[in-house]
């Protein structure tokens, strides 16, 4: 899922300084699961903002809403008719949701309430780890299910480097060395031949803004365009 972190209250306050009527919109998918921007977090943020603005003697009127997915125009339609009553929208979705919101309601300023952090997995309650950089050229088959682009601090394709330190990365002792673990796991599976050959320079597919239309829907897109 997409993992996000609530921005500090001061930063959100400074973005909303000149606005008196603000609609805070949560997102019910990834950011709700990672406890950053779901319905519950909308309530908490609004309560914090309310108090802060009261103390500043600059009261604010806050609305609350939560849609299933802000990265889907269909769900944003639900806000139509509601948005007109506000000077600004505070979106608690990831960067994709914020941008779709801003595109859907172009005349209204939209501000982000979270920092989108990474694509990650849930290690424990409230504990998330980055796992994927969406590079577009997955090599997990070769690397025993450990992503070298994400988990190696240098993003090496032919590791481990000389900085590997008793199974840990040179950047610090709590960061395991991805390539040490790749080696260990491949060795256990008897698959070390996977990394015996030089892995050539990557053909990066994430250097321009990307669009994906699944094969089954390409005709539909062409029709829509014509």
């Amino acid at each position: 899922m997409i993992v996000a972190e609530r921005k500090p209250l001061e930063e959100i306050e400074s973005m909303l300084k000149g606005y008196r009527r603000v609609l805070t919109v949560g997102c019910g998918t990834c950011v709700a699961v990672c406890l950053a921007g779901g319905e519950k977090e909308v309530g908490i943020l609004n309560a914090e903002l309310q108090i802060a603005r009261k103390l500043d003697e600059n009261p604010i009127e806050l609305g609350a809403a939560c849609v299933e997915r802000q990265c889907d125009m269909e769900f944003l339609d639900e806000l139509q008719g509601m948005v007109d009553q506000y000077d600004a929208i505070l979106s608690m979705a990831c960067g994709a949701g914020v941008q779709f919101m801003a595109e859907r309601f172009e005349d209204v300023p939209v501000f982000p309430a979270v920092d989108t952090t990474f694509i990650g997995a849930n290690r424990d309650v409230g504990w998330y780890e980055e796992k994927c950089r969406a590079c577009g050229t997955c090599v997990l088959g070769m690397t025993a299910g450990i992503c070298p682009v994400t988990m190696c601090a240098k993003g090496l394709f032919n590791g481990p480097c000389g900085g590997t330190n008793n199974g840990y990365c040179e950047i610090g002792n709590d960061q395991p060395c991805a390539w040490y673990r790749i080696y260990e796991r491949l060795a256990r599976q008897g698959r070390l031949e996977q990394i015996m050959e030089i892995h050539p320079a990557n053909e990066w597919r994430n250097q321009t803004p990307r669009t994906l239309v699944q094969a089954a829907y390409r005709k539909r897109k062409e029709l829509a365009a014509s």
Binding site: N202, W204, R205, Q207, T208
Partner: protein
Amino acid sequence: MELKSGSNLEKILRAGQFAFTGELGPPRGANDAAVREKAKFLRGVVDSVNITDNQTAMVRMSSWAASLIALQEGLEPNYQMVCRDRNRLAMQSDVLGAYALGIRNMLCLSGDHQQFGDHPRAKSVYDIDSMQLIQMVQGMRDGGKFQGGADIETPPRVFIGAAANPFADPFEWRVHRLAKKVKAGADFIQTQCIYNMDKFRRWVQQANDMGLTEKVFILAGVTPMKSIGMARYMKTKVPGMDVPDAIIKRLQGVDKKKVADEGIQIACEQIAEFKEMKGVAGVHLMAIEWEHKVPEIAERAGMLPRPQV
């Protein structure tokens, strides 16, 4: 007169002389003679020569190395640096090395996207952008600090250049972006190739009105058309280029053998106007793969001999 770098280009500009700079594209190989060959046409003809940095995202001899060869050949290089291929560490160390070896001008650019070149699937760096690069070099020179905040023992005293494209959209925004580059620390500006004179006049007027031309030297970019095909290519294929139909018509109106000559004639007429234009401090001649023609163009445009300052 207090100089920031002491480069010839800076001295020419600060003395109020109309500057004339050229361009030299390094070779796609390790052949230093290729640089020396091009350099010999430019010696004594231009005040400084831009040495391009992997232009159009094609791998070429590094711009600092070709700059040093140009220096050996008696030219003053204007070392170009793009943000596509280096992070802030590499950029700062290259600036230090370039200065240590005698390079006194540099031009800070974003660089063409690698998709346009011969390594389209390369990972680009863009750790910082051109605006931040200008700011970083200015901080190194005037503040004596690395971007990370540490002191520099011997700061690199380079004359800082930046690019401006008056023809990219939105037109109303261009002068404000120029203002940001001036604020970031640019000493001089070299513009995109100018063909739409009317639009350029309006842009310079805006820069004059905002007081920018008192803070920065603007060198107008000129690229003579070698052929009708080149003019068409520039018009349709090069992003941010504005070639009015009148230019193409004019080239079509002359005898086939005279097209290149007409291209030079147009360039000379432009230069004549720039010399008189308030807010324009010089001309940057980008005679792309046409270095041997530069002496003739300079002569015909009345740019010779170059002033000694």
